[in-house]
């Protein structure tokens, strides 16, 4: 036991002292803070100015209403949009010339865009908005709703209804989502989805990162010829277990730091965001303690499952090139579990979702997803954990045999037949 502990300690320290660990650990929370704070900061410092547009109105009736619909104010009181010119029912020839002229103005920056309203717009022809920056969604959105509202007002008028302010008429009626759980009801503001997505990405990334870290560590001991020195002092199996525990502990440290910073962001992030830009909020990530415990259990299960495989893969090869090849199938396996989240997200309790979340290779990601979305019956969670434990034990047993032989073998990558023979060496 003492020897396993020593190997674990060394492995842990070797991991947490690497630059990539420190960067990864610090960068992730910083990134999260950045994601929250940056848009608010950017929006605040955006140089707001009045956007100028020209309207080419082939109907001859819509332009006025559109202009009215664009009557919005910037925070500093200036108008947000200004219709600098309106051309009613131009002839085809004129229109060609006008368009060329307007394009030139847009390119020169004298104009921010021009809107063309076709004759049959009410019959379904689409209006076109020409701008240099279609990425400005707010701008495009404002123009789009102004045209829609104008069209609605026109149609209503055709049916004999005189409406002054269409926006009041079509103004939204909200439907608030409420998540029903055994514990009661929670208003859903996208936090379930956000939590599920964040947890999946974290699980996926850490399974891959720490799986590969295990592979690298085994390979490094081989290429630096440390393996033989080590197994002359302790059993290969103990070495493997110590190594897996050491890498797991490093992963755990990272989780802990992330969780704490996430908790801090959850507690104070809203304050920061609203301080930077009043009125803004962040999607709340809700992580009940029970979910956190499941996350840790499934992370550990998934980690030991995959890391044992990655360790065996590392023991099989003696060069980086070969390592690339043997780790591919494992990486694909992790990715596969990740990609199937769509199936589960749609319907967490369908037979397919239940079956997928029982397969030990996918369970770490998919069962956690189900728990977050719609907590499944306890027996399903227990069965899933049981299956992971059983499979991991089996894989660890086989991997240890491959590992024991592999760490002393150099040269060509073994074929499947050779691997089979390795398993039968005493």
């Amino acid at each position: 036991m003492r020897k396993i502990w020593l190997v674990m300690k060394r492995e842990y320290l070797a991991r947490v002292r690497t630059r990539s660990f420190i960067i990864g650990t610090v960068a992730f929370p910083l990134m999260m803070i950045g994601v929250i704070a940056l848009p608010a900061i950017l929006l605040r410092h955006q140089s707001a100015h009045t956007l100028k547009i020209t309207i080419l109105d082939q109907t001859g009736e819509m332009a006025a209403r559109v202009t009215q619909g664009l009557d919005q104010k910037l925070p500093n009181g200036e108008p947000a949009y200004q219709v600098v010119k309106t051309v009613q029912e131009p002839s085809d020839e004129d229109e060609e010339k006008l368009r060329a002229e307007l394009r030139a103005q847009v390119n020169q920056g004298k104009l921010d865009g021009f809107l063309v309203i076709p004759k049959a717009v009410l019959e379904g022809d689409s209006a076109t908005f020409h701008t240099r920056n279609p990425g400005d969604l707010e701008f495009a959105g404002a123009v789009r709703s102004a045209v829609r509202e104008a069209a609605i007002a026109e149609r209503l008028e055709e049916r004999g209804l005189q409406i002054d302010n269409v926006r009041d008429l079509v103004g939204g009626v909200e439907v608030t989502l409420v998540k029903v759980t055994k514990e009661g009801e929670v208003e859903e503001k996208g936090q379930t989805l956000a939590t599920a997505l964040v947890m999946m990405v974290v699980l996926y990334v850490t399974l891959l990162v720490y799986g590969l870290a295990t592979l690298r560590s085994v390979l490094e001991e081989k290429t630096t010829r440390m393996s033989e020195v080590l197994v002359s002092s302790l059993r290969a199996f103990h070495l493997l277990v110590g190594k897996l525990l050491g890498v797991a502990a490093a992963g755990f440290t990272q989780y802990l730091i992330w969780t704490i910073s996430a908790a801090l962001v959850a507690a104070y992030g809203g304050l920061v965001a609203s301080a930077v830009r009043p009125g803004s909020s962040i999607p709340h990530i809700v992580l009940p303690i029970s979910t956190l415990v499941y996350l840790i259990i499934f992370y550990l299960g998934g980690y030991f499952l995959y890391a044992s495989l990655y360790a065996a893969a590392g023991a099989m090869v003696s060069s980086d090139e070969d390592a690339q090849q043997v780790q591919m199938p494992l990486t694909v396996l992790v990715l596969l579990g990740y990609m199937m989240f769509i199936v589960v997200m749609r319907n967490p309790n369908s037979t397919l979702s239940i079956v997928l979340s029982m397969i030990p290779f996918f369970a770490p990601i998919l069962m956690v997803l189900r728990i977050v979305l719609q907590t499944p019956p306890l027996w399903q969670i227990a069965l899933s954990i049981g299956l992971i434990v059983l499979t991991t034990t089996g894989i660890l047993y086989v991997s240890a045999k491959i590992y024991r032989v592999g760490i002393l073998m150099y040269g060509k990558r073994p074929s499947v037949v050779e691997l089979w023979r390795w398993l039968r060496y005493t």
Binding site: R2, K3, L6, V7, R10, A14, E221, T224, R225, M226, S227, E228, V229, L230, V231, S232, S233, L234, R235, L408, R421, Y425, T426
Partner: protein
């Protein structure tokens, strides 16, 4: 009590038999040479004694008890392929390896400090292994092998890559450890070292023992069938295939291996008859090198 006893040990890898029915005894306190050509099964044998590999058949005893995790701690093993974690500090990696052999951190730190002083590595203690020269890394590895005062030392080619000064230093340390009661198993291709250091040897070829026992006795059993000659003049008199089986020129000295039953006097007579001046004419035991070559080629035939 013997330090190591192997009885009818066999180890197979698939269809290849790496070690076949090997029995040997290493007397406690001896320097034992395990010899053999490349691929003879030396490393496999050492790994089985270290319990890195398990024998398919036969038994291995270390200091009277079956090889186990416990006997592993009694042995210091220097594998042929050396290695230390390149990114760890020298002191850290040595404390770690000593810990794996059962030393407490405090005791390991104390002893390693002494050893580093002794091998002139003290200024490098806090440097990364990477920053050390090959020779210094070898010395650090030697510390890792001996720091737990092993009763049995297994050294696989301990002198490769060392300059004469450091090789001498390591040799002195080995002999000192033997004075203190350690048994040493030395595996090497350098026969002159075996002749100088070993009490007994085992020569294995193709996984089987072909020669084994006390080095002096082995050499005597081969008889004084070699003539060491120093002369000046024409060397033609040595061109006697009927008398001489094999000639080894070392510049100033020639070693001539006689055919069975050949009379060395005959060679002396021929030399005198041709007016060659003889300054040395000595009947000696064959060098280990010749015994090695003879034995190995016999078993190949």
């Amino acid at each position: 009590m013997d330090a190591v006893v192997l009885q009818n040990v066999t180890k197979r890898f698939d269809s290849i038999v790496a070690v076949r029915d090997l029995s040997l005894r290493v007397r406690q306190g001896a320097v034992f040479g395990l010899l053999g050509p490349n691929g003879a099964g030396k490393t496999t044998t050492l790994r089985m004694i270290m319990r890195i590999l398990l024998p398919d058949e036969g038994s291995i005893e270390v200091f009277g008890e079956p090889a186990s995790d416990r006997t592993q701690d009694l042995i210091g093993y220097l594998p042929e392929e050396r290695g230390l974690y390149p990114r760890m500090k020298v002191r850290e990696v040595l404390v770690f390896l000593a810990g794996l052999k059962g030393l407490s951190e405090k005791e390991a730190t104390r002893r390693i400090h002494q050893w580093l002083e002794r091998l002139d590595l003290a200024p490098w203690a806090e440097k990364r292994v990477n920053d050390l020269s090959k020779g210094m890394q070898q010395k650090a590895q030697f510390i890792a092998t001996v720091v737990h005062k092993p009763s049995l030392l297994i050294l696989d080619e301990p002198f490769t890559g060392l300059d004469p000064v450091n090789a001498g230093l390591i040799k002195d340390l080995m002999l000192e450890l033997r004075e203190q009661g350690s048994t040493i198993i030395l595996s090497t291709h350098r026969m002159e070292q075996v002749e100088l250091m070993c009490d007994s040897i085992c020569l294995i070829n193709k996984g089987q023992s072909v020669l084994d026992g006390d080095l002096r006795a082995i050499k005597q059993s081969f008889g004084k069938n070699t003539v060491r000659i120093e002369y000046s003049g024409d060397g033609d008199f040595l061109n006697q295939p009927a008398l001489i089986e094999n000639l080894n020129h070392f510049g100033a000295v020639v070693e001539a291996k006689l055919r069975p039953g050949a009379d060395p006097q005959e060679i002396l007579r021929l030399a005198v008859a041709r007016g060659v001046r003889i300054t040395r004419f000595e009947l000696v035991e064959p060098p280990l090198n010749d015994i090695f070559i003879q034995k190995v080629s016999e078993t190949h035939a």
